[in-house]
C-alpha cells in the first residue's frame, strides 16, 4: 500500500491558497521517502491534530487506500524534508499570447 503526502503553504505574503492565484506552491512525497523520525512526526500530526490558527500554516493531505485526510499545522511542527519538497509552478498553462 502506497501512502502519499501533499503539502501546501497557506497564508504568508503570497497567500498561496487564494483561489484566483496564477501560481501554486505545493510538494508531494511518498511517505516512505521520509526518515523514520519524520514519518513519526507526520503520523503524530494526523493522530492528534491541533487547532493552530495563525497567519501561516501548512496544509498536509495524506492519501492512502482509505482515502484522504487533511490537517493544518504550524511551520514548527512540519518535517523539514516535506517543507523542502515545496516548489512553485504555474496554475494555468501558457496562453498563446503569453507564450509568444
Amino acid at each position: 500500500m502506497s501512502t502519499w503526502i501533499t503539502i501546501e503553504p497557506l497564508g504568508g505574503y503570497t497567500g498561496s491558497g487564494a483561489p484566483a492565484n496564477q501560481f501554486q506552491n505545493a510538494g508531494r512525497l511518498n511517505l516512505s521517502s521520509l526518515s523514520d523520525h519524520e514519518r513519526e512526526q507526520v503520523e503524530a500530526l494526523f493522530a492528534m491534530p491541533r487547532e493552530e490558527k495563525g497567519n501561516f500554516q501548512f496544509r498536509l493531505t495524506l492519501e492512502d487506500d482509505d482515502g484522504k485526510r487533511i490537517v493544518e499545522a504550524s511551520a514548527a511542527s512540519v518535517p523539514e524534508s516535506l517543507i523542502r519538497s515545496i516548489h512553485t509552478t504555474w496554475t494555468l498553462p501558457l496562453t498563446d499570447q503569453q507564450s509568444k
Partner: protein
C-alpha cells in the same frame, strides 16, 4: 555592562527553554535567561513609571508621548536558516554590514519600517513597547513566500523563476512587520472578514511604507504589491505584481482579488477578500490626494490600534470606525470624511 539579555526576545528564549530537541542543560540556560530578561524589563518599566510620577503633572504625558522617539531604535536581528526550516536559525553578527544581500536587506528594511511607524504614527516597534525586530532569511530551498510566525519575520529566497528573493520587496517587509502590529493591537483572527482585514492592513501599510520611503504622493505611487519580487518568468508572462490596491482584479496581478463586498463569501482566503478593503483605501486616498500616510493613513492606523482588541472585527465595523474617526478628528474638513465614506460605499460597505 553586558546587554545580551535584552537582545533575544522573551518569546524566543521561552521557545528554546521548552524545545525538546535541545539538551536539558541548554534548555535550563535559556529558561534562566528568560527569567532574568523578564525581571530586568520589569525593573526598567518601574523606573520609567517612577520618573514620570516624579515630574510635574503637566509634563508627564508629553514626555510619555515623545519618549519612544527619543529612545534608540529597536535592534534588528537577523538569523540565517541556511536553507533549513528550523527558526530562527543561526545568528548573523552585524547584519547591516553583511555581504549577503538578503541578510542586509532584512536588517535594514525592518529598521526602516520601524522608523516609518515611529515617525508617522509614534509607534515604538511592533508591540509599541520597543520589541526587538527578528528576521530569518534563506528559509528552506527556493521557498516562494514570506511570513510572520507570531514572533518574527521569515523570508524565503524565492524559486528564482516566478518569484525572486522576498527581501527584495520593501512592501514585503512592511507587510510582514504589520502582521505583528495587528497581532499586538486589534489581535484579529485569521479567517473570514477579520482575516481579510488583517491581510489588507499588511498590504495597505506595506504600500504606505513604500510610498513614504520614496516620498511619493497618491498620484506618483504605483500601488502595486510585490512588484520587486516578480521573477523573470512572471514578468515574461506580463505579471507586474502579486496584488494591486488600485485594481485588485487586474490581469497583471499574479493573485487577482474581488473588488466589491457583494463578492465576499464566508470562509474566503484572507488574501482574496483583502482586495475589498484594499480598494477602499486606494479610492479614499485618491479622493483625498497628497501623501497617503499623512492624514488617511493616520485614520486607518487609529482605527486599527486605538480600540480594545477586537479579534472578530467585521469589515463594516472597521469601515464605520474610519468614518467616525475621519469625522471626529477633522470636524472642519467635510470633504475628507466624505471621501472616506464614499470609498467604503463604493466597495459595498
Amino acid at each position: 555592562m553586558t546587554c545580551t539579555c535584552f537582545i533575544v526576545p522573551q518569546d524566543i528564549l521561552k521557545r528554546f527553554a521548552s524545545d525538546p530537541s535541545l539538551r536539558d542543560e541548554t534548555r535550563s540556560v535559556f529558561d534562566r535567561t528568560a527569567n532574568v530578561s523578564r525581571l530586568v524589563r520589569a525593573v526598567r518599566e518601574q523606573q520609567t513609571a517612577f520618573t514620570l510620577a516624579a515630574m510635574p503633572f503637566s509634563l508627564a504625558p508629553a514626555v510619555a508621548l515623545v519618549a519612544p522617539a527619543l529612545r534608540a531604535a529597536s535592534p534588528s536581528l537577523v538569523y540565517d536558516c541556511q536553507q533549513g526550516t528550523s527558526t530562527p536559525g543561526l545568528p548573523v553578527s552585524n547584519p547591516s554590514a553583511a555581504a549577503d544581500g538578503p541578510t542586509k536587506r532584512a536588517c535594514e528594511k525592518a529598521l526602516a519600517v520601524a522608523r516609518f511607524y515611529s515617525e508617522v504614527f509614534g509607534r515604538d516597534s511592533i508591540d509599541d513597547n520597543h520589541m526587538t525586530l527578528v528576521s530569518s532569511v534563506h528559509y528552506s530551498v527556493g521557498f516562494a513566500n514570506a511570513f510572520w510566525n507570531g514572533a518574527q519575520m521569515i523570508y524565503g529566497d524565492g524559486d528564482g523563476e516566478i518569484f525572486a528573493d522576498f527581501t527584495n520587496g520593501d512592501d514585503v517587509i512592511g507587510h510582514e512587520l504589520t502582521h505583528g502590529v495587528t497581532q499586538h493591537s486589534a489581535g484579529l483572527v485569521y479567517s473570514d472578514e477579520p482575516g481579510g482585514l488583517n491581510e489588507s492592513f499588511s498590504d495597505v501599510f506595506g504600500s504606505m511604507f513604500r510610498q513614504w520611503q520614496s516620498g511619493q504622493d497618491v498620484i506618483t505611487a504605483d500601488w502595486l504589491i510585490g512588484k520587486e519580487i516578480m521573477g523573470p518568468a512572471a514578468l515574461a508572462r506580463g505579471y507586474t505584481c502579486l496584488r494591486d490596491l488600485a485594481n485588485p482584479a487586474a490581469a497583471h496581478c499574479l493573485a487577482p482579488q474581488p473588488t466589491h463586498y457583494s463578492q465576499y463569501q464566508a470562509g474566503m482566503d484572507p488574501h482574496y477578500s483583502s482586495g475589498i478593503p484594499n480598494l477602499a483605501f486606494y479610492k479614499a486616498a485618491m479622493a483625498v490626494g497628497g501623501q497617503s500616510w499623512t492624514k488617511l493613513g493616520k485614520v486607518w492606523y487609529e482605527a486599527l490600534t486605538d480600540f480594545a482588541p477586537s479579534p472578530n472585527l467585521s469589515m463594516s465595523q472597521f469601515a464605520n470606525r474610519t468614518r467616525a474617526i475621519s469625522r471626529n478628528s477633522f470636524p472642519n474638513d467635510a470633504t475628507f470624511s466624505s471621501a472616506v465614506d464614499k470609498a467604503w460605499t463604493a466597495v459595498g460597505l
